[in-house]
């Protein structure tokens, strides 16, 4: 038998994707923006949604897949509730980003590209966050943490973990 697709899973509600696509008049020239908004809505890019995007925009599935896998900011697997981007660009690298990444890996128990077992954090490295003056820098859900130290990492992780407490 032919292998089944890797991400066969429960049906995904396509309504949110349709709303995004409609907001761009189903115009295929907005594909990247549509995928960005869809990832915002779903936390990642589920395969059934990407297949639906291809149908709605009259693109081939391989075209949508190519674009979705090209950009590092797109994820085809479910991510944690909070996305940690640790910069390993030139400036951050020179200021010890490697050690800080190890610190994060030690604290979270996951390597870059992985998500913690409780689904709280996804850790990823990036090549630049555009804030080299603050090096070394990391970003959690769009918030910058500059002149980063181990202490600041602990504080930041606690802050974001605490956010989850009320509705946990």
């Amino acid at each position: 038998m032919a292998p089944t697709n890797l991400q066969t899973q429960a049906p995904v509600d396509l309504a949110a994707a349709d709303a995004v696509i409609d907001s761009y008049q189903a115009d295929k020239s907005w594909l990247v923006m549509i995928l960005q908004d869809i990832q915002e809505a779903y936390n990642y890019l589920p395969q059934p949604v990407l297949e639906h995007v291809a149908v709605r925009l009259a693109l081939t599935p391989s075209h949508v897949y190519r674009v979705a896998t090209f950009y590092a900011s797109f994820s085809l697997t479910r991510r944690g509730r909070h996305l940690i981007l640790i910069c390993d660009g030139t400036a951050c690298h020179l200021r010890g980003a490697e050690n800080l990444q190890e610190e994060l890996t030690r604290r979270l128990g996951v390597a870059p590209g992985q998500t913690t077992a409780d689904g709280l954090f996804t850790l990823e490295t990036v090549a630049c966050l555009g804030a080299c003056a603050l090096a070394p820098v990391m970003m959690i859900d769009g918030t910058y943490f500059g002149k980063l130290t181990s202490e600041k990492i602990v504080a930041a992780l606690e802050r974001f973990a605490a956010k989850e407490a009320p509705d946990a």
Binding site: L59, T60, P61, S62, H63, Y65, R66
Partner: protein, 272 residues
């Protein structure tokens, strides 16, 4: 500017010291072929648009005082170009390209043969990955699918060192019609497929499909999906979707042979 000259205008060019006149914008590779000058290629196919990916067809171009290296497959011949296909710079660049391709696709016998032909005895660079790769990412299969096959059944995925050609989501290629164009054009033996037990299996694309049996002789001759793809593209009277090529030829031969009439000449001269 000469760029607005009519497309069918003839231009003269010099390739390896020999002059040739070709239609303006003829690809340099084709112009060289007319002079029986062979330039090695991997990502080139006459039926597909040039892409310039494999870089093996590199040549040295001179126009006026400037000389530069570029690919011949996508170089349109214009006025005043002089081309050298085997200068030391060309051979050095081509050799390096092939050595890198060898490291990229160490398992490809086609690349090994080309290397031997160019006098490269053994790989200089460490083989990438597990040494089993045959794909050089030239995109010929993607272009064949786009321009000859169903279109868009396969495509590039990811980026940089992780780049691959694959079916969408690494699963069944839903648009694949099993035409085999990708397999036929693949220059490095990467793409695999086989017909077995009534199925066409495009192993590389994780895809398999049912074959159709010839109405006349029963032989399995084409994937059903390919016939369905062809059906709306054929004139109604052509029964191509039912019989295999061999039976079709036999039938056509029968139909086009004139019935024997006593005394009838096959060719008649209408003028005395």
């Amino acid at each position: 500017m000469s760029d607005h000259a009519p497309a069918n205008r003839k231009v003269k060019t010099v390739i390896d010291g020999r002059e040739i006149e070709v239609a303006r914008d003829t690809w340099a590779l084709d112009a060289a072929a007319k002079l029986k000058i062979r330039i090695p290629t991997l990502c080139h196919h006459a039926a597909l648009t040039p892409y310039g990916a494999c870089r093996l067809c590199v040549v040295e171009v001179t126009k006026g005082k400037s000389t530069w290296l570029t690919t011949a497959c996508d170089l349109p011949i214009r006025e005043g170009l002089s081309i050298c296909t085997n200068s030391p710079a060309v051979l050095a660049a081509r050799r390096m390209t092939l050595e890198l391709l060898w490291a990229q696709a160490p398992a490809s016998e086609e690349i090994q043969a080309l290397a031997r032909e160019m006098g490269i005895a053994k790989p200089r660079f460490a083989a990438r990955g597990d040494g089993e790769n045959r794909c050089i990412l030239c995109g010929l299969c993607v272009r064949a699918c786009e321009q000859l096959g169903a279109g868009g059944a396969i495509g590039f995925t990811r980026r940089g060192v992780e780049r691959t050609v694959d079916s969408p989501f690494g699963g069944q290629a839903t648009l694949c019609i099993g035409c085999g164009s990708c397999l036929a054009v693949c220059p490095t033996g990467h793409i695999r497929g086989i017909d077995r037990a009534g199925q066409r299996r495009m192993s590389t694309w994780h895809t398999e499909m049912e074959m159709a049996a010839c109405e006349s002789c029963g032989a399995l001759f084409a994937p059903l999906r390919q016939l369905e793809h062809l059906r709306p593209r054929l004139a109604e009277h052509i029964p191509i979707v039912k019989v295999c090529p061999a039976c079709r030829r036999a039938k056509a031969a029968k139909e086009t042979t004139l019935p024997a009439r006593p005394g009838a000449a096959l060719i008649r001269n209408t003028r005395k």
